[in-house]
């Protein structure tokens, strides 16, 4: 057991820092630091920079564009990104559908889809949830009926994050209703420009447009867009869910903590900094202890390249902490959590801020982050999984 970073790790860290310093535009960095809304172009710009350096898909197989990093290097890489306020990577292509494609897809599919994911020219979204299928994903009803060389897809997907930007959607569809719900599901890749697809925004309680409903009416999808075997999609779906849940959160939690500390340092209470208020200081310390615990919990699982049950508990604990940090930040800004000027959350807003500039995103982020305990399998579902998979109950 040891915690040392070896010399080559430190050299790697320095290399990453230098790269970020030379490539991340300052205004983009500021946007991230201030918690403002990011545009599609913001994500794409940074993803392409990373790709030019060969660092966009480090977890992919090397022959497809991945890098042979040690777990420590992966950890350092992600940490540096977040510390430096780089835009987050959109996971739907590179971290979600790509592993499915390179694990279960055909040679043609790999050739066709992976390059545009790597260079971020194709934006993907995820067609899993449906209005009637939330926690019970396997009850999904979107139908795909084979007609010659095509599937005809009908149904509705919902909570589809950033579908408004998407070129492609990966979908779970029902190709058979004969047996157990899980057994009749297939995994389809669908071009968003196909006729019959309709994207409708869902405005969430924070006032933002992040998710959508996607309606499919007689959408014709070529059979070559089927991943693996027909009716075996549940296997691929679960594989992907593990990746979705095992997203490392230490970095973004630290970013939230930096912001919280910065806000609290500027807020006043009884003529002093809010940091000097014993009740607030105790809550902050408690949060920091929990975050440190989470970090070491994550580090302990670093070695496991194939995420298992720990994906579920990291998801539960990590999202609890995301919510807690956003709550403490909202508490810190006191009355200035009230003002809501939608445009103030966008970079380039030219009016002076109402109250302190840092206050504006606090309430929207708190409201928005309620989603984290719901999406990718609610935290209740994660506990169901753990009680069965780990505790054998």
């Amino acid at each position: 057991m040891d915690m040392e970073f070896r010399a080559e790790d430190l050299a790697f860290q320095a290399e990453v820092r230098q790269f970020i310093g030379e490539n991340l535009p300052l205004d983009l960095q500021e946007k991230v630091a201030r918690g403002l809304h990011l545009e599609k172009d913001d994500y794409v710009l940074w993803q392409q920079k990373l790709n030019q350096r060969g660092w966009f898909a480090p977890h992919w197989p090397v022959d497809l564009g991945g890098v042979e990093w040690t777990p420590t290097q992966h950890f350092l890489f992600q940490n540096e990104q977040v510390e430096a306020n780089c835009p987050p990577i959109m996971p739907f292509g590179v971290r979600m559908v790509a592993p499915v494609i390179f694990t279960y897809g055909s040679a043609e599919q790999k050739q066709r889809f992976l390059p545009s994911i790597l260079d971020s020219t194709a934006w993907w979204c995820q067609g899993y949830s449906e209005p009637g299928s939330g926690s019970d994903l396997a009850s999904l009803q979107t139908k795909a009926v084979r007609e010659g060389d095509h599937y005809i897809v009908n149904g509705t997907k919902t909570w589809t994050t950033l579908a408004q930007h998407a070129d492609w959607i990966f979908c779970l569809v029902r190709t058979s209703s004969d047996s157990k719900p899980q057994e009749g599901i297939s995994f389809l890749l669908i071009d968003m420009t196909t006729p019959g697809i309709d994207v409708t925004p869902i405005i969430t309680i924070d006032g933002s447009h992040e998710v959508n409903s996607v309606f499919f009416t007689d959408v014709r999808v070529p059979v070559e867009n089927l991943i693996g075997e027909e009716n075996k999609g549940w296997t691929y779906a679960k594989f992907l869910l593990l990746f979705e849940r095992s997203n490392s959160l230490t970095g973004s939690l630290k970013q939230q903590l930096h912001r919280l500390r910065s806000v609290a340092g500027q807020e006043r209470s009884g003529g002093l900094s809010l940091m000097a208020d014993p009740a607030f200081a105790a809550q902050l310390a408690d949060y920091e202890v929990q975050l440190r615990t989470y970090e070491f919990l994550e580090l302990r699982t670093l070695g496991n390249s194939q995420p298992g049950a720990e994906a579920s508990y990291l998801k539960i604990i990590g999202t609890d902490l995301q919510q807690l940090a956003s709550e403490l930040t909202l508490q810190a800004v006191a009355y200035y959590g009230n003002p809501y000027i939608h445009d103030a959350l966008v970079h380039g807003y030219n009016e002076p801020a109402v109250g302190p500039e840092y206050a504006a995103p606090s309430a929207p982020q708190y409201f928005n982050y309620r989603k984290t305990a719901i999406y990718a399998g609610s935290n209740e579902i994660q506990r169901n999984i753990l009680s069965k998979a780990v505790l054998g109950m």
Binding site: G132, S139, I205, R268, G270, A279, N338, I341, V354, F367
Partner: protein, 376 residues
């Protein structure tokens, strides 16, 4: 000891419930929130007509002479309806200040108008550095001839844009955080030297930032005694907290009922969600939080007029702590148990959640009041 409503209170409750049913369907409220002023003048006129604006005001000035419990009955139903009209700022706070500190002339002039719906008031107290301390006042009022010149900033003044007069706390003597030396002034909204920046709030209300640069008021604009504003604020803000607790209880009850209903109808894994034990227990916890919040709401409304200032302050702070904790739990869990649907602007769940979140902030959050309770 008796916790039941009188016949008049029950009638008032029924009457407000009818109003909410008729005027406060979610779509109707959404339109009000998106409108220019952010609420309905027609509703305000109706509230005057039904005697609600007069409810807590004294009979000798055109009021009905009701007490805290009457206001509680009304506010609870306003909470259930997520009412956006400025009842709290104008009647509970504005009216409260006039009753507690107004001169005979001020009462005679203003209270009848308030009761009739012809006058609206707002209360400007928070400042950038003050956090929740009512006595942290840097805004200055200097003697100028017979009157005063007021300069400084006030933040997050609810319903300032539509108020005729704004009650402003300013320092006439003493240091930044002294209790002594704070004076309250009735300031005309359109007076010179006053700049307002209006904006909506996350929970669908309206508020403003005020900049005062030598706003001139006459001596009769002073509300209460010169330098004695702290005690007056403590009293009236106590009443406001008692009223907002009732509003919160209304919000919580709706969320609890709605979530319970949702769990019974939403089927997953072949059964209604209400059949999952974890969700059953979560609902029980929400229910218990509602019952506890209601208990403290009754408590504070029965004690807010207590003559012992320590007992009164303890009651107020204890209630605010409980309401903050209960509101947080019920609000968060309502969203969680609604799953994705709870995250949408389309359902009313999120709107109640946001209102409850902001109620915790109003007049000091649970941390503030816990500390205040401990220090008493």
């Amino acid at each position: 000891m008796d916790f039941s409503l009188s016949e008049e209170q029950q009638m008032l409750k029924d009457s407000v419930q009818r109003f909410i049913r008729d005027e406060y369907e979610l779509e109707a409220r959404r339109k009000l929130v998106a409108s220019d002023v952010g609420y309905s003048e027609a509703n305000w006129a109706k509230m005057a007509e039904l005697g609600w604006l007069a409810l807590s005001l004294p009979e000798e000035y055109g009021g009905i002479g009701g007490g805290a419990v009457d206001t509680m009955v009304l506010m609870e139903e306003f909470g259930r309806g997520l009412v956006v009209e400025p009842y709290m700022t104008s009647i509970v706070i504005g009216g409260g200040f006039l009753m507690a500190g107004g001169s005979a002339a001020q009462k005679t002039e203003l209270l009848p108008k308030l009761a009739a719906g012809e006058l609206k008031l707002a209360f400007a107290y928070a400042e950038r550095q003050s956090r929740f301390d009512l006595n942290d006042v840097e805004c200055k009022a200097e003697k100028s001839g017979d009157g005063y010149k007021i300069s400084g900033h006030k933040g997050v003044v609810f319903h300032a844009a539509t108020a005729d007069k704004i009650i402003v706390s300013a320092r006439t003597s003493g240091g930044s955080r002294d209790a002594d030396g704070i004076t309250l002034f009735l300031v005309d909204n359109n007076c010179s030297g006053l700049t307002r920046r209006d904006y909506p709030t996350v929970d669908g209300l309206r508020a403003s930032e005020l900049e005062m640069d030598g706003v001139t008021v006459a001596a009769d604009a002073v509300l209460g005694s010169v330098g004695g504003g702290a005690a007056l604020m403590e009293e009236v803000v106590g009443q406001a907290i008692a009223a907002i607790c009732a509003e919160a209880v209304g919000c919580m009850d709706v969320l609890q009922e709605t979530t319970n209903e949702y769990l019974k109808t939403r089927v997953q894994f072949g059964v209604p969600l209400s059949k999952f034990q974890v969700l059953q227990h979560r609902m029980v916890d929400m229910f218990m939080e509602c019952e506890q919040a209601r208990s403290m709401c009754y408590m504070v409304n029965l004690k807010v007029g207590d003559e012992d200032p320590v007992e009164r302050a303890k009651s107020v702070s204890a209630a605010k702590v409980q309401i903050g904790n209960s509101g947080r739990f019920v609000g968060q869990q309502s969203v969680q148990l609604h799953g994705g649907m709870g995250m949408t602007d389309e359902l009313h769940v999120g709107h109640y959640f946001k209102r409850l979140t902001m109620i915790d902030t109003m007049f000091g959050n649970k941390d503030h009041h816990l500390k205040r309770y401990a220090d008493l």
